[in-house]
């Protein structure tokens, strides 16, 4: 494995670089889109169940099918990375919209009522009170979405753009174990690092969750 790595370091690094941005860009885009959608699911309760159902159906579309379809729908080339980014953004939104809605719904009514009593308008209350309180739930969803995206990118290799997944298809075609092993290990490591980063961010931005003993 070491010899494979030293002989192919450039290929592996290029694959890793592509993998990172193919997986993480959709997380950012999806998060930005899921926040308002999830909020709508809470603001208008009638909207919540359709939201959950649509998200469930979207998530059950096989990634391979979505990767293949988007070029037809978007008019992009089949080898364009945009297809992967859009597909993974759809999955991220499907996962996170529900988490955002659940997180906001889990905020204790007493908290929102106190904020209202203190003179918060709806929007400021959402930004200053509800979102921060819901953050642990939302970030837990973000961890799931990030890790899932990192492992899904490799399926793109079946249509020619898949970061570390290209190491899988190459190794598979040549019946050669090393690239596959390197790809799997790097993919798992990358997911672990990204997951850890979100955990650290969560600890930094929600310090109150660490003092569980102090709650009434």
């Amino acid at each position: 494995m070491i010899t494979y790595l030293s002989n192919n370091s450039e290929t592996v690094l290029a694959a890793l670089r592509q993998h990172i941005w193919l997986a993480l860009l959709p997380v950012l885009l999806g998060f930005a889109i899921a926040l308002p959608i999830g909020y709508l699911g809470v603001r208008f309760p009638r909207f919540y169940h359709p939201l959950v159902n649509v998200a469930g159906v979207l998530y059950s579309i096989p990634s391979l099918a979505l990767f293949v379809f988007l070029p037809v729908v978007l008019g992009t080339k089949i080898l364009s990375p945009i297809n992967i980014v859009v597909a993974l953004t759809i999955y991220t939104v499907a996962l996170l919209a529900r988490t955002v809605a659940d997180g906001l719904r889990s905020v204790d009514r007493l908290i929102t009522e106190s904020a209202t009593a203190m003179g918060y308008r709806r929007f400021r209350r959402l930004i200053d009170v509800e979102l921060p309180v819901a953050l642990p739930v939302i970030l837990a969803g973000l961890r799931v979405a990030t890790v899932a995206n990192i492992s899904l990118v490799s399926v793109g290799a079946l249509i020619g753009v898949g970061g570390l997944g290209q190491l899988f298809t190459r190794g598979f075609q040549l019946f050669y174990l090393e690239p596959i092993l390197v790809g799997v290990i790097l993919s798992v490591l990358l997911a672990g690092v990204a997951d850890l980063a979100i955990v650290l961010i969560q600890r930094a931005v929600t310090p109150w969750t660490r003092f569980q003993g102090g709650r009434a």
């Binding site: 799931v144 079946l158 190491l167 174990l177």
Partner: protein, 219 residues
């Protein structure tokens, strides 16, 4: 892109090899096998961890560790190691279903009111009785939601079996892609999504049926 492949009667001929019903059956077969093997492995472990509280570290981290394993990579790794066949596919898919089941079994038991468990012990139940008559029935809603998400995932992911030459609905995607027949790819995507939704409905009904009516009232 159109629905001609899906609605062509010739593709629904039960006898023809590679017809949609045949692919559907083999797809369903992979899904059921993976879910069955995964449940047999994950459920006892999850229940043990949840019941005793020992090794909860494993249960908490199993979820994310399992998700981070790229199924396609694992599958190709297994095929390279073991050769073509059903076994590598089953291993890859089983690895996918274990984490959600294990984690939800653990979370289901942990979410119970400790007083209920204490009361069960107090009336003289043995640990095994506490587990099978109190903890397991009460944890069923959480457990079933884990099982349902495992099912959704495995139905969608079983399509990658076609990438290593096996059957299942992924054939429509891979072969359609290979010959630029998008109508076939669309048929595959639709059948997979419909299958996932139908299985989820079946499980939702099963859940209503097996969960005690006493737990159905929302608190």
């Amino acid at each position: 892109m159109n629905l001609s492949y899906l609605f062509d009667a010739a593709h629904w001929d039960l006898g023809a090899s590679g017809s949609i019903p045949q692919l559907l059956l083999s797809h369903l077969w992979y899904v059921i096998l993976a879910l069955a093997i995964g449940t047999v492995i994950a459920l006892p472990v999850g229940l043990y961890i949840g019941h005793t509280g020992r090794g909860s570290f494993i249960a908490i981290n199993a979820g994310n560790a399992g998700r981070s394993l790229p199924t396609l990579g694992l599958l190709m790794l297994m095929v390279t190691l073991l050769g073509l066949g059903l076994l590598p596919v089953l291993i890859a898919l089983t690895v996918l279903v274990i984490p959600p089941i294990l984690t939800s079994a653990y979370a289901g038991l942990r979410s119970l009111d400790p007083q209920v468990v204490d009361a069960a012990r107090g009336v003289g139940m043995r640990p095994w009785q506490v587990l099978t008559r109190v903890e397991l029935p009460m944890a069923l809603p959480v457990l079933m939601s884990g099982f349902r998400s495992a099912t959704l995932q495995v139905v969608a992911t079983a399509t990658v079996a076609a990438a290593v030459g096996l059957g299942g609905l992924g054939r429509l995607l891979i072969d359609g892609l290979a010959v630029n027949d998008y109508s076939r790819v669309l048929a595959g995507a639709i059948v997979v999504a419909v299958l996932a939704v139908l299985l989820d409905l079946v499980l939702a009904f099963a859940q209503r049926w097996i969960v005690s009516p006493g737990l159905r009232v929302s608190r």
